[in-house]
């Protein structure tokens, strides 16, 4: 500590240890936030249409089109005029997931089914990045953003699929955490092939 260089050196060395400790403390503080928000997810309709495989012009490939509602939330709201009229607040509120160490949320909707050979499949068909707490009220009616097809090229005899809305909390410092915000109550069957008119 006798010269300027020694002081810079010693101070910076101790500083870097303390910065590390601070960041570890911030990362661990995320464990104190145990929010687990739940919403509801309903599949409005599924259609299966034939098409051509992208790479091979002669190969037939079936595509599934899923319309879904990420709708009813956890909070039941009583209507002021008629108490008997209970309707669900139509927004799963993911804002509890935003704490001081949350950078953004990655939401994704996946179809889960086990095929004939017993292989468990999980296909992500929609996603959304939520960057701000104000945008964490999810109320959307959508359809699959990404192509939904089966490896065997056909959805015939594929067992009904469960659909789930999952989230991935991305922190500024620390580990990624995953969770499930909503799930279809019953598995939804794939319909018969429809031809495009």
């Amino acid at each position: 500590m006798h010269t300027i260089y020694a002081r810079i050196n010693n101070t910076s060395a101790f500083l870097s240890s303390c910065v590390t400790a601070l960041l570890v403390a911030i990362a661990l503080s995320s464990l104190a936030f145990t929010a687990d928000p739940k919403g509801q997810l309903a599949v409005a309709s599924i259609q299966v249409h034939p098409g051509n495989a992208r790479r091979y012009a002669n190969k037939k490939q079936e595509f599934a089109f899923v319309n879904f509602n990420v709708s009813a939330g956890t909070h039941l709201v009583m209507s002021a005029r008629a108490v008997s009229h209970v309707h669900a607040c139509s927004k799963p509120d993911l804002s509890p997931l935003f704490n001081w160490n949350t950078k953004q949320l990655f939401l994704y909707l996946s179809a889960e089914y086990t095929d004939k050979k017993g292989v468990a499949n999980e296909v992500v068909i929609w996603d959304r990045i939520v960057r701000r707490k104000e945008d964490a009220l999810i109320s959307t009616t959508g359809r699959n953003k990404y192509v939904f097809r089966e490896l065997s090229a056909s959805f015939r005899n594929i067992p009904p699929a469960n659909y789930s809305l999952k989230y991935n909390v991305m922190p500024y410092v620390g580990v990624l955490t995953y969770g499930e915000a909503a799930r279809t109550p019953q598995p939804v069957a794939f319909p018969e092939l429809q031809s495009l008119s």
């Binding site: 006798h2 010269t3 002081r7 101070t11 101790f14 303390c18 910065v19 403390a25 001081w100």
Partner: protein
């Protein structure tokens, strides 16, 4: 009379040596033993306090920006206090004994 007037082209050897010594003193920034002790204590106290304090402040206000901002400000201020050889770190210069007469050749 300035150096430039007396010798426009180059400095004399003794002037160069004096300047070297001066620059070395400025860039080394030596402080005395008491000052070193003071700096050591100050650094340890302030950095630990800043770490704990900024964490609690940011946690209370739920803002990582406040945590890191407060910590950075504390560190910059600490560096300004601790790095330059301020006079308060040079108040106790080492008192050397007088050189003994007659023994030096």
């Amino acid at each position: 009379m300035s150096v430039v007037e007396a010798c426009p082209h180059r400095l004399t050897q003794s002037q160069t040596l004096a300047m070297q010594a001066y620059l070395q003193q400025v860039f080394e920034g030596k402080i005395d033993f008491e000052g070193q002790k003071k700096v050591e204590t100050l650094v340890r106290t302030v950095i630990i306090a800043a770490t704990i304090g900024s964490f609690l402040l940011g946690f209370a206000l739920q803002s990582l920006r406040i945590t890191l901002g407060a910590f950075s400000i504390a560190c910059v201020v600490l560096y300004l206090i601790v790095i330059p050889p301020w006079p308060m770190y040079r108040r106790h210069p080492v008192q050397w004994l007088q050189a003994k007469q007659g023994k030096v050749q």
